[in-house]
């Protein structure tokens, strides 16, 4: 990390010297998915947010190590006398069309992003009121103390009010396109020069960017390449400089060639198995059809002890994964150090637990998995199924594409299922809210808790965690949740998904744990 920063500083110096010769550093990159839209509030998906973070900016932003740092706000502090935050905005910032950035633009963007037509409105659920104090000060009032709020809006991108309203893009387009679907006007380091959706998007640096550019890119071309082999060929033939991601099985091929490098890291996504806690019987069992053995924590623990993570790591992931003990990886805020042990691989113990629970010969059940969502997801489930079988848990595996996977899970059509979760706020509170709190559509909690794991104490702890300002007291509350959910084996956390990118040797870039690719850290040497 330090060397990258050092190099980019050096390069920054070198650049200013060579600026006269106007060396063009064109940069080309590819990824599997084209951002569906250029509208930062229309779709809350990683390809869109990642791409648009190069063009638009939020009040705060994430640094190379995911830490929150000032962006369009220079500082922020809790409001006195009421719940919420005051943001002091940066002065002298201009949008790419030259107009000035003020608190009115933040206010407008808030109204736009929290509108029913916006897919990102859930970020503003705690907000009750937004007030423009003066041209460069804005208050976000929340219903309860909300220490996480500033970091939860790192992807809330600010649009220019005049630009959006005068181009009929005051609201995100829901079922038709509008001006902001194809055009941009942000404050960020890059702007869109040309866009051909699904084919090619060319970005150009924003000359009036407020921050000092650490990159030396004069033109950046993005091409979506859906087919992994084609993407690899494009990199190896030199037509592109960088690609994210590459399949695990291609790592060796890239490493074996001169002039290319593989960038490996840990994504923040934890892969896990979930159970139908609420189901009163198994749906896919050929022998136990009257009850659901997984309602017994001993059976769930037995399943956890049956998993041999070391073999999965070695055989399927070439030693590139980190076993997980909880639903966020180490390093994420709220990670529970006190509960960092995971159930060890112990088939004998698994069998004993099953016998104790009344299933000495095991039973059969259905295991649902995706086959196109996570790295090696189908292979993982096959391996897990054979490990389960070794202790008597006969998993009937069914795999399918993710496009009809979530509806199946929502309809409770599973006995056990695979899920990967990346904490959108990079805090443990996120998976507690979405995966551990009981399902509560009214209050928008537990919306991805498909099996409806429910524990009254966890439900009680979530609002306390959300509102606790003191870090130590907060960690104690989080530790309690993690401890409860581990004791009850609410999920079987498996591992943190690896992040594998590939680039030419002459490219310096930063691989951030949220799998976002930021052009502002790219240097072409």
């Amino acid at each position: 990390m330090r060397s990258t920063i050092g190099k980019s500083l050096l390069l920054g110096g070198a650049l200013s010297l060579t600026a006269l010769s106007a060396q063009a550093e064109a940069f080309k990159w590819a990824s599997t998915t084209d951002p569906q839209t250029m509208d930062p509030h229309a779709v809350n998906s990683a390809p869109v947010l990642s791409f648009l973070n190069n063009i638009y900016e939020g009040l705060v932003r994430r640094g190379r190590d995911m830490s929150i740092e000032p962006s369009l706000a220079t500082s922020w502090e809790p409001l006195g006398g009421e719940n919420g935050w005051r943001f002091n905005l940066r002065q002298g910032v201009t949008f790419q069309d030259g107009s000035a950035f003020t608190a009115e633009d933040v206010m407008f963007s808030y109204e736009r992003a929290s509108n029913e037509a916006a897919d990102v409105r859930s970020w503003f659920a705690p907000v009750t009121q937004v007030r423009v104090v003066d041209e460069f000060t804005i208050d976000f009032v929340t219903s309860a103390p909300n220490p996480l709020f500033p970091s939860s809006i790192a992807n809330f991108m600010i649009l220019d009010k005049d630009w959006a309203t005068s181009n009929d893009a005051a609201l995100p387009a829901r079922d038709a396109e509008n001006f902001a679907t194809l055009n941009v006007n942000g404050t960020g380091p890059f702007t869109v020069a040309t866009r051909d959706p699904g084919v090619k998007t060319v970005l150009a640096p924003h000359a009036g960017w407020w921050d000092e550019a650490a990159h030396n890119v004069t033109e950046a071309t993005f091409t979506p390449i859906g087919n992994a082999a084609t993407g690899l060929a494009a990199l190896l033939s030199g037509e592109i400089d960088f690609i994210q991601p590459i399949p695990l099985q291609d790592v060796a091929q890239v490493e074996s060639r001169d002039g290319f490098k593989v960038l490996e890291g840990e994504e923040t996504r934890v892969i896990m198995f979930g159970f139908g806690h609420e189901h009163d019987k198994l749906l896919y069992s050929s022998d136990v059809t009257d009850v659901n053995p997984f309602t017994d924590p001993r059976v769930r623990l037995a399943a956890a002890h049956a998993i041999d993570m070391a073999s999965i790591d070695r055989v399927l992931f070439r030693g590139k994964i980190e076993a997980a003990s909880q639903l966020v990886p180490a390093g994420i805020s709220g990670y529970s150090e006190a509960n960092s042990d995971r159930p060890e691989f112990d088939p004998a113990k698994a069998k004993a637990l099953l016998a104790e629970a009344g299933y000495p010969d095991g039973f059969s059940f259905g295991l649902k998995c995706t086959n196109d969502r996570y790295i090696n997801d189908e292979a993982l489930c096959r391996a897990a199924a054979s490990m389960f079988a070794a202790v008597g848990l006969k998993a009937e595996l069914s795999t399918g594409p993710v496009r009809d996977y979530w509806p199946q899970l929502r309809e409770d059509d599973f006995d056990m299922y695979l899920l990967g979760w990346s904490p959108g706020t990079f805090d443990m509170e996120h998976p507690i809210r979405f995966l551990m709190h009981s399902q509560d559509d009214e209050r928008k909690l537990g919306s991805w808790n498909f099996g409806n794991y429910s524990n009254a104490r966890v439900d009680e702890l979530l609002p306390m965690i959300q509102q606790e300002i003191d870090p130590e007291a907060r960690q104690a509350l989080v530790d309690e949740v993690v401890s409860i959910t581990q004791d009850e084996v609410a999920y079987i956390p498996l591992y943190t998904q690896p992040l594998i990118w590939a680039a030419k040797d002459n490219i310096d870039l930063t691989q951030r744990a949220d799998n976002f690719f930021m052009l502002r850290w790219v240097t072409v040497n």
């Binding site: 569906q36 387009a173 038709a176 859906g226 082999a229 979405f434």
Partner: protein
């Protein structure tokens, strides 16, 4: 003749309706568009509201009626994925697919027909055996494997040709063409060959079989005895008589080439309709999938119509019957 064409075009409307109906009844099994359109943090209530807004809760009959009604009015709707007008999305992708398909067809004809004639005239020659073997291997390997092999050999190892995309294109009105730049042609070679290789083999084998049949017929012997020059004999008398079945098959195949260039387009990231369709499946983009399938049905109808017209042009006997 005009009546014949008009009748066919009217029929095509029914074909398209039938295709739309079949496609629509399958869409329910493709997946849920809403979970593809929204982020993980979107609440269940917001998802339901969107589902209601898009009319996805309506009955199948109502959704189908709305789709066909809008299509008849010329309103092709908006993509769920990109929110762009579907008509525009498909229109901008048609040139890429058509140019690829036409070049693939030309490769298959200009290589396939001479090779077919040659292998028919010298059935036991060494070159014939080599050609037959090579093309057999060519059809036996799946298209995407051929594509990947070509990419790695010509694109990565030798570095002669680009590995993906259309290269340089020039806009002529609304038509984006690869034909006017060197880069465009270079990018076209590998995908066109990949797409055309099956067609090429088929054409060659068909021409060869027909040629061998014709060469045994009486009129060829008489012509040989009369001393008709060999060249004229082969190409004017023999080859012309093999063309009716060849055109039938090639015509039908060409519809397929256009319609199912999906695999080739995916391997070469060729921005045509097939690639668009593939992306649409991934995102359960029902409006795009629906319109694509209807457009493809229309292509099939038109290609078949052209094939029928070509018969008349090639075979004088059909013309006489038509007049009588």
């Amino acid at each position: 003749m005009a009546y014949f064409i008009a009748k066919r075009l009217v029929q095509s409307v029914f074909v398209m309706l039938a295709v739309a109906f079949l496609a629509f009844s399958l869409f329910r099994f493709v997946g849920d568009p809403i979970t593809q359109m929204t982020g993980v943090e979107t609440s269940v209530a917001d998802q339901e509201r969107l589902r209601e807004e898009l009319g996805l809760n309506d009955s199948f009959a109502l959704q189908f009626a709305r789709f066909t009604g809008d299509m008849l009015k010329g309103d092709f709707g908006f993509s769920y994925r990109t929110r762009q007008p579907v008509a525009e999305m498909i229109a901008t992708r048609i040139p890429a697919t058509l140019e690829l398909g036409v070049v693939a067809l030309l490769i298959s004809l200009f290589v396939g027909i001479p090779a077919g004639v040659y292998t028919a005239l010298r059935p036991r020659g060494f070159a014939t055996q080599a050609i037959l073997m090579a093309t057999l291997v060519g059809v036996s390997i799946p298209t995407f494997v051929i594509g990947i092999m070509l990419i790695f050999f010509f694109g990565v190892q030798l570095g002669w040709l680009p590995t993906f995309g259309r290269g340089g294109t020039v806009k002529l009105g609304g038509w984006e063409t690869s034909f006017l730049t060197v880069d465009g042609w270079r990018a076209l070679i590998l995908p066109a060959f990949t797409l055309g290789v099956y067609q090429l083999t088929l054409t060659m084998r068909l021409v060869r079989a027909e040629m061998m049949e014709v060469m045994r017929s009486d009129y060829i012997r008489f012509a040989t005895a009369r001393g008709v020059p060999m060249r004229r004999l082969y190409f004017r008398h023999a080859l012309a008589n093999t063309m009716v079945p060849v055109i039938t098959i090639i015509g039908l195949q060409f519809g397929g080439v256009i319609a199912f260039s999906i695999v080739t387009e995916s391997v070469f990231q060729w921005p045509g309709m097939g690639l668009l369709f593939l992306e649409s499946i991934r995102f359960v983009d029902i409006p795009v999938m629906g319109v694509y399938l209807v457009v493809i049905a229309f292509f099939f109808v038109v290609v078949n119509l052209i094939v029928d017209l070509l018969y008349v042009a090639i075979d004088p006997r059909l013309r006489i019957r038509d007049v009588s």
